[in-house]
Symmetry: D2
Subunit: 319 residues, 4 copies
Amino acid sequence: MDFQASAKKLTTSVKSAKIVPNMTVDDLVTEYGGCAFGAGRLAEAVNIYYEMLASEKTTKFFGLAGAMTPAGMKIIIADLIRDGHIDVLVTTGANMVHDTVEALGLHHYKDTDCSNDIQLRHECINRIYDVYLPDQHFADLEEFLHRVYAGLPEEKLSIRQVLTEIGNNLDDESSILKTAADMGVPIYCPALQDSVIGLQAWLYQEGNPLHVDAFADMHEYMEICSEAESAGVLLLGGGVPKNYILQSMLVTPKSFDYAIQLTMDRPETGGLSGATLDEAKSWGKVGENAKSVTVYADATITLPIMVAAVRTRLLKDVI
Amino acid sequence: MDFQASAKKLTTSVKSAKIVPNMTVDDLVTEYGGCAFGAGRLAEAVNIYYEMLASEKTTKFFGLAGAMTPAGMKIIIADLIRDGHIDVLVTTGANMVHDTVEALGLHHYKDTDCSNDIQLRHECINRIYDVYLPDQHFADLEEFLHRVYAGLPEEKLSIRQVLTEIGNNLDDESSILKTAADMGVPIYCPALQDSVIGLQAWLYQEGNPLHVDAFADMHEYMEICSEAESAGVLLLGGGVPKNYILQSMLVTPKSFDYAIQLTMDRPETGGLSGATLDEAKSWGKVGENAKSVTVYADATITLPIMVAAVRTRLLKDVI
Amino acid sequence: MDFQASAKKLTTSVKSAKIVPNMTVDDLVTEYGGCAFGAGRLAEAVNIYYEMLASEKTTKFFGLAGAMTPAGMKIIIADLIRDGHIDVLVTTGANMVHDTVEALGLHHYKDTDCSNDIQLRHECINRIYDVYLPDQHFADLEEFLHRVYAGLPEEKLSIRQVLTEIGNNLDDESSILKTAADMGVPIYCPALQDSVIGLQAWLYQEGNPLHVDAFADMHEYMEICSEAESAGVLLLGGGVPKNYILQSMLVTPKSFDYAIQLTMDRPETGGLSGATLDEAKSWGKVGENAKSVTVYADATITLPIMVAAVRTRLLKDVI
Amino acid sequence: MDFQASAKKLTTSVKSAKIVPNMTVDDLVTEYGGCAFGAGRLAEAVNIYYEMLASEKTTKFFGLAGAMTPAGMKIIIADLIRDGHIDVLVTTGANMVHDTVEALGLHHYKDTDCSNDIQLRHECINRIYDVYLPDQHFADLEEFLHRVYAGLPEEKLSIRQVLTEIGNNLDDESSILKTAADMGVPIYCPALQDSVIGLQAWLYQEGNPLHVDAFADMHEYMEICSEAESAGVLLLGGGVPKNYILQSMLVTPKSFDYAIQLTMDRPETGGLSGATLDEAKSWGKVGENAKSVTVYADATITLPIMVAAVRTRLLKDVI
């Protein structure tokens, strides 16, 4: 018996990557495409992301968890918004805090990931792995936020509206919040309380009128989900953004047609962050015939690769 | 030169574990105590947790992330609440969803972690790793929740109040929500929207009055933090519960005196979920002189060990 | 349609764990048995390991990777050998190095996992995560090993024979090498060169006759595999021990009937260490009908649990 | 007090990555260089690797663990050998098995990572995560290896010599074994028994003279280590290759001046595979002033990036 006739698994041979000087990122991804394991998955993710971005009828969701803005992923995301590649952003509050800090002209700093944290406390410096920022940044942020909050209308507001107003008050083209506000792209952050933006909102609310309804932006969000002719999502990490984006499909008759996750989480702990996208198909969150893939690698490495490759392909389409 | 004189690192020798039949969990933890790596850390975590629970002046926080209630950790947590070992619970919405499902008399089911998820969809069964539950459970849950929501006052409510009301409407002594409501233990869930409880609240709100203010329970929460003579926290996983508990210390002059994390997350990705508790000291969230430890292992394995050992020690104190 | 009729996945309900003071480890495992995720897997691993140890016709293999002897797992393994629960041990060289160090009356020490490693070098102290040992131990080990090597016959030897002779020269009932030598249990270590035992063998060989054939112990090893009426394996970590044990079944008509892996490695990198035991079925290494499970958690935590629970059950059988 | 004056940690600001179409891999790495977390580490790894490869006086070691040849990393490594960028290769046996399989004109195949492994067994197909190969390949390999072994001299041989002879018998410019044999680059594989090459050597030895001494190639290997004016290492994964390369410095007065590890392993389990390169400094394996970095991400993604960027920089030096 010829094994090739009997076995479906033996049709696509692994093609070892060939690496040459001066190759572009898209060339690199093409070489990944012949490989297995993480490299093969990343090439597949690029193919899916390209198809998703090129599809005009597809509403593009982006889930942003992890400390991605202090790590240097901010401009990539702002540029994706500006160029129409993100229609809906769901994020943790912390990412918006650090985006705002930078938009105020303040910096994050890089150093070792192994520090004397007690000494840092004495020096009034806060650490995020190998990123550092001084307490003073938060004092400046507080002042800014209270100014924004003071300008908000006294009526019932949604979290999305609060974030839009923060964006409207920033003056930095590389800011996610500013760019989203300019482009009319909504930013949803279901756990805004769980961030310095939320802490300051609460502090402001202690002495001033501020009415933010927890569910007030769900109507517009669900309408976007319901009205999407086709839906695609790129997830950085897991957490609330992943679950919130996927769960929307539980109350709409739709499901995601494209789904990509870049993460270091693993399925075996049973948590949603590490859950496979196949598992999401059992819930109807991701469609039966969806194109989906998870790349298990540091997202600060894989996101720039994906964006560089897809932008190259999109440019070729134009030319 | 005698190396033992010169070197601080060589004072406590590793003592290999001796395992015998019929040993108790607390005996096991004692044997862990002589070991290094994860075993040694778990023994240290038990020591810290015992000291924390035995300290009457310490306010006890509990952070609950991951799919812990469908996995079978519900009664452990409910019992900790009932016995006064949890003063404040911060959780993801999903854990409360699955607690409610079980309190309604419905079950989660165990099977393989490797399924045909598309077939499951056709059978109307949802998968959480190796846990399964049918769509019908959510229909029953929806009916219950709408009944609860219909009974809520029309005034502005906090998320904590909504969760207390759900607990008040349940009739199951093993339920976390019910036990917390009975015991007056507050449950905070900053991202309630990110769960079926939140989805149904939104659906209810589409046709009925329901005013849930995102920041309304932060005042009482911050007061608990500010007034704590001493504070301790046990964190299962990371996510919003970890960050929300720790960040409270940014706006109070306090910090945690005890901090334990049971997690599979890792520090190298830079996200808060995997961040070390030392990193939290640079922010002042965990105190300089705090006792803290992270155990890197599946929390469904380590939480029951910790609770069994600490309960044994607490009982000895009584006798 | 009744979902319970249609769906095979919904027969075993999750039963939340109930934790009480003074419970034994075996009671704990019984509670794990109702849970999902890691707890459920660990309970399953105990069931399989009990059945494997209780089966008189089963040849019991044990794969030992990771720094398990310096971490305090030595006595557990020596006791398993003494009681007939390990018939064949396959290990890394390092585990035997540290077993020998302790058998010479020298200690490993515990301290923080975060040290100034350059300062340690100046103090002549070597670190293994949170375990420390001084250079002097290796000088003592070297002297001992050269004495053993000088007593070896000049004929062609196998690695297994060298390890047996080291064991014969030790005088410590808690030593793995000594106990295995006493009990006639063979220890295989395919990469002996990759350890201080190997380095010293090479140094000895530079000036003295020593003939160790790389393949000389494979005949006896393969005979054990071939003649096993039934075969079972407990794997701690992956590495050479895992692969060497499993690959033996490629050249015999047998396969493992029981297979348990305790590991933190993950499948997604494609390496053998993290590979699932299902994958091993495609190779015929693990049998079609084998009972197998992988527990993803720190083995210094899970191994003692498994052994305590299984020893309790075996004792009950006797009584 | 000005925080910038007091704090050493606040000198290098994070610079968010800017991604544009058609950028080269080296441009991408430059953008990584402004970022934190994995991206920053990868940029640092490229800088170190470039300095290491450009240093003429440095002996270049390469550690190869994980299933890298079936995954498609073969040509990259063969090309590095051919261009003088690898002076010493230490590998697992499996990587050489799959290199040989491909050099015989046989292929590995890619498909899903989720298969029915029992059905695969019935179809005589072996799975390595998402890579597949038929039993027949091993039959062909066996025939080839026995032919090679039959041509070996009857005197005492080292494992390195056996691997060189396999390389000499291959006719494929993209093979690691062939290229290393052509270039006179030694390949060390301390656990050769732990592979199909080893299994077949044993089977051959059952009926034919074959004398492979386990320690016979350590003299030449240690001479390379001792005579190195400077030493650098790139480690893919951990396992025996990592330990064997690093431990050589225990018996020489040298230590590594450059050390890079690409891995998904983590330090917390205490095993050598996940151990930090700082830990290796306490042993004197890596030098006090060495440049070293670990990148925690899938090596099939990061190795091609590193090689593409370094080759670009080396080419610029020539021009």
